[in-house]
Amino acid sequence: MHDEDDLLLRACSGDLDAFNAIVERYQALVYNVCLRMLGESAAAEDATQDTFIAAYRGLGRFRGGSFRAWLLRIAANACYDELRRRRRRPLPLEAAASVAAPSQASPLQAYLEGELAQEIQRGLLRLPPDQRLAVVLRDVEGLSYEEIARAMGTSLGTVKSRIGRGRARLREHLTAAGLVPLAAWAGEE
């Protein structure tokens, strides 16, 4: 992380190349979180770009600690802004869930995987944004509860309950959609 601190210090004093090295490092993370939050690549691109612009401008306010969590907090705000705009001008949910997966498997398997991914994405989009973000940061990005709490600006207890409730709700959605692995669990009850 020495290397990252060095880049951050240089970026703080206006070295754009240093900042762009940081962008390079985090753009996949930020883009994927935005993509799962918004369900649509064009909006995710905009939110990602806004995140890095806001991060560059606000770099002077970064007070150390996890830069990743700080950056994700900005990304979360960019996504919430977009979701607020959408509430005024809603997108059809089906169109919003078109995050298909490129796959090297057989056409049938690729199709099934794509269907599954779309159904999961649809389920995510039905969660309240706070639960969605917590589940994405945990299950897609593998962050610890501690770091999620920092990225969401909230307590560990709240993170715990957001993830728990988000997963429970997602489970209902996936069970209702008749997805095979979950139908087996449902049949047991």
Partner: protein
């Protein structure tokens, strides 16, 4: 001892965090003891695990392009543009309010008790006196309107700091100063609002 329903409900809420290894050792031991006796909680845990696995199976997409910032797309880290975008609307609003106050002052002036032509030069003189403190005191006659209009004084003062110095008491000059103040406030409001609109548009184009 059979599991108490209360502990079942309390422990059930921790299944998701248990799955992530985020429970304290004490709570984890109690939950594990409960799990060994409670098939419903085992099923719940398996369901949550399946959901977590399903979400984790979502493919990570490569970023469609580089998000590196171009030098002309951003100003240096700082709050210049942020300050500008926040200050401009405030400036526009203040100038617009000033203009409204000046116009209201202009419109309401004839209704001052003294009425007639005498009120006009007096009011104009008050305006100018605010702008240039070196001016001699007003003629004793129209003290009434001066008092009445006192609350309106600070506005023209701020609006035309560089206004022409008051010399005579001709009604025309007072009116001119007032018009100039109105013009200045209007122009400042328009300029601030225009600048703000340009900044907002540019920000929107960037997205």
């Amino acid at each position: 001892m059979p599991p108490a329903p209360l502990s079942h409900h309390l422990l059930r809420r921790h299944l998701s965090a248990y799955l992530d290894g985020e429970l304290s050792p004490g709570l984890r031991r109690r939950l594990e003891a409960h799990l060994s006796r409670c098939p419903a909680c085992r099923r719940e845990l398996a369901g949550l695990e399946a959901v977590a696995r399903a979400v984790a199976s979502l493919p990570r997409q490569p970023p469609p392009r580089s998000f590196a910032l171009a030098p002309d797309a951003v100003s240096r880290p700082g709050r210049h543009s942020l300050a500008a975008t926040r200050l401009l609307p405030v400036t526009a609003a203040v100038c617009a309010a000033l203009l409204a106050a000046l116009v209201a002052y202009d419109v309401l002036r004839p209704s001052v008790p003294q009425g007639g032509t005498a009120a006009i030069p007096a009011a104009g003189e008050e305006t100018l006196r605010g702008g240039a403190p070196s001016v001699p005191p007003p003629t004793p006659g129209p003290a009434g309107p001066g008092m009445t209009l006192a609350p309106a004084r600070p506005t023209p003062e701020a609006a035309a700091p560089g206004g022409p110095p008051a010399e005579g008491e001709a009604p025309g000059e007072g009116l001119t100063a007032l018009r100039l103040a109105q013009l200045a406030a209007g122009a400042a409001a328009a300029a601030a609002a225009g600048g703000w609109a340009v900044l907002a548009l540019r920000a929107r184009q960037r997205r």
